[in-house]
Amino acid sequence: MTTLPQRIRTRAQETPDRIAMREKNYGLWDEITWADYWERSSLVGHALLALGVEVGDRVAVHSENRCEWLFSDIGITAVRAGTVGLYPTNPAPEVLHVLRDSGSCVLIAEDQEQVDQYLEIADELPDLRTVVYIDPRGIHDRYTDERLMSWDAFLALGEQHRTEHPDAVTERLEAARPDDLATLVYTSGTTGPPKGAMLSMDNVEFVIETLQSGGAFVDPPASDRDLVVSYLPLCHVAERVFTTWFNAAVGSQVNFAESIETVQQALREVQPTLLFGVPRIWEKIAAGVHIRMSGASWFKRKNFEFWMKRAEWIGRTLVENQGNHTASTKAVYAIGWLCLYRPLRERLGLAKVRYAASGAAPIAPEVLEFFMGIGIPMHEVYGMTENSAIATANMAGRVKVGTVGEPQVGAEVRIDDETGEILTRHRGTFVGYWNNPEATARTIDADGWLHTGDVGEWVDGSHIKITDRIKDIIITAGGKNISPSEIENSLKSSPYIKEAIVIGDRRKYLTALIGIELDTVGNWAQERKLGFTTYRDLSQKPEVIALVQSIVDETNRKFASVETIKRFAMLPKELDHEEGELTATQKIKRSAINERFAEAIEGLYSDSSQEVKA
């Protein structure tokens, strides 16, 4: 069989001078060819051999997205070790958990911040022998921990090893087996500590073949003319697909921004053709457009308003037509393209996007419509770490909004008759959870079906609609099953609402905790000359509560009476990963929220004299 690192080597041999990736440094885009990519990855491989890394060992990478992440990933897998990715935002206790649980023997850390974090917990990590730091600033000459090694010294070690054992990496590379561990992906479970999902070389190969054959996401299939901006955490399986695996499969070019703060600018400069985002990103882009427009000149604003009305109509029509244009939407879009859509898309860095995808969490239909209306072909896709991100996708021309699409070619998908749970089966089904056979047994059944934990239903017999996480389904005191995320997403489709948590399990009626979007509500308040100091202050303003009430009322009209929000409370702060309220991927940890805001929640159900808001 072929493996991921072998594919990189082949590309380096066949097209050594083509550009594999670009990275912006000192304001200029530096190009990295396929030959460079393989050269540096194999040096990483040699260095790891010099450090005594054995087949099946784990090597951790803790860094923002940058080319060294890819060099490391390929170098690690080339010597048949497994890559363990850490979120750059992981707080120290979670870093400790992942490093200790995985038993990583080498850590490749980005900079001083990560090294400091490691030093805090170094005593509890006996297996960790070496820590390589990529950016030496603030570290070299100052830190004396003998386990530390600079990236340059690391590569020099590889070079020395290569001189002494020129074929060592190649030998490992050729001996690779399909069941070799390729990576441990720690899934940020909304309950309990993260579990390491084992993906094998063969799992990865399945994804790469799916991407290559065009059976997957993109139509026409992705090629080496496609451009990608890599910006979501690479330890997450979705970004691994769009950055590393697409690149290895078809040779699409990866672009790395200078830092997470400059992604928007990088999008504008690169104008990618394929773009994956989580709903939060798409929502933010859409909200940003509206904020910027509210400060524009009168003429610009009128032009924007006029063409956004048309865009809404185009978006709606496209949605009704499974993503296909009609003659009239085509004509209107053509004029709108000259007046608004082209410059707007260029500003957003989306001018050349021919395929955009949203996944990892449900997206509000309004947001999908917004992007489709301005001409960006958006597709909701579905997958999870445990099935190597391959399950269902909306295909071009067969889009059904509100669904996550059709089963991908080569993937079996069914819905359990009793529980309604979505089950998948294919070659990409993960091997199991690291050191956790019980959890594995709960997830993969005897017939090899993966239990996703998502409840769904078929739409028109072809597409799947996800109703909720199986654990999150609310059963009211009246015995009615309610899916909170549908209501939450409807609330969150308002640009003013960032978080909505619907509560009501074993209660008489539904209530919600609401967190405002600071940017948009702040802007809204300023326009009304409402002064405010902090997030808390702003969210408690009577005017803001009234604004939220109107959004809640609007949502309530869309749902049956038992599914309406009777009362709500404002969150006094922004939810935060570090305080355990969100997972690393910004998903809500319901148990933590219920605990932290217990008092506020009880207040919503106390029989005070205060009238219950209908």
């Binding site: 000192y26 304001g27 200029l28 603030g138 600018q265």
Partner: protein, 268 residues
Amino acid sequence: MSQPVVSVRGVELSFSGVKALQGVDFDVFDNELFAVIGPNGAGKTSIFNVLSGVYRPQQGSVEFAGSDIRGMRPHRIANLGMARTFQNIELFENLDVVDNLMLGRHAHLGYGWPAAVAWLGKAKRAEVANRRRVEEIIDFLEIEGYRQLPVGMLPYGIQKRIELGRALAMEPKLLLLDEPVAGMNGEETEDMARFILDIRNELHIPMILVEHDMGLVMDLADRVMAMDFGKPVATGTPHEVQSHPDVIRAYLGPVDDATLAEVQGELA
């Protein structure tokens, strides 16, 4: 220790009879972070103004990089390699970040206006080299996201960072920082502290720091000089100066020995 970068001896400065500085002596050495502390009106900023040539002291000597700079015009002192930031931000609000930093490269232009107009050879090469240097500073201070934005639009903490960047763009031999964290929140202060440490450790530029944030001074400075009513009362390591009786008196007013011992105990 090697030759001092700056050597101040017996400096006296008065404004129509008001003595702003009296008998100020200190040296700052290579790679040193030297802090000046003291209550309001102690003369800290006056020291900066004497060093950078804004005021001419009536007496004493000020030596910098081997030259006597007492009474020298500010722009000539700047050309010798002394850069400063200000208590109140002094940037060009309508220029973008890159242009503000490029202004800091003024002393390194190396060409005159005819070359600039012709835009040939030397001028172009120098501009490219200077732009590269500015990019290194942008990277150093992590302000990539603000490059093309007018400075006046940026948050206060970022403006402070850009002012520091402009001073660094001069590639100074000595950097004067006038209250670099005044008015900043906790996170901004932490960032600035890290940049100051990195300037010393990575760029090896000696600094003189005037600061009210005592925690910052005690954490960062190699040596501290405490001032009161225009006179230095103690110079030494942060710890020595902190527990010096005269320094405690300067901040707390006249105190008896028991209170003094108590405060020293608290500080120890």
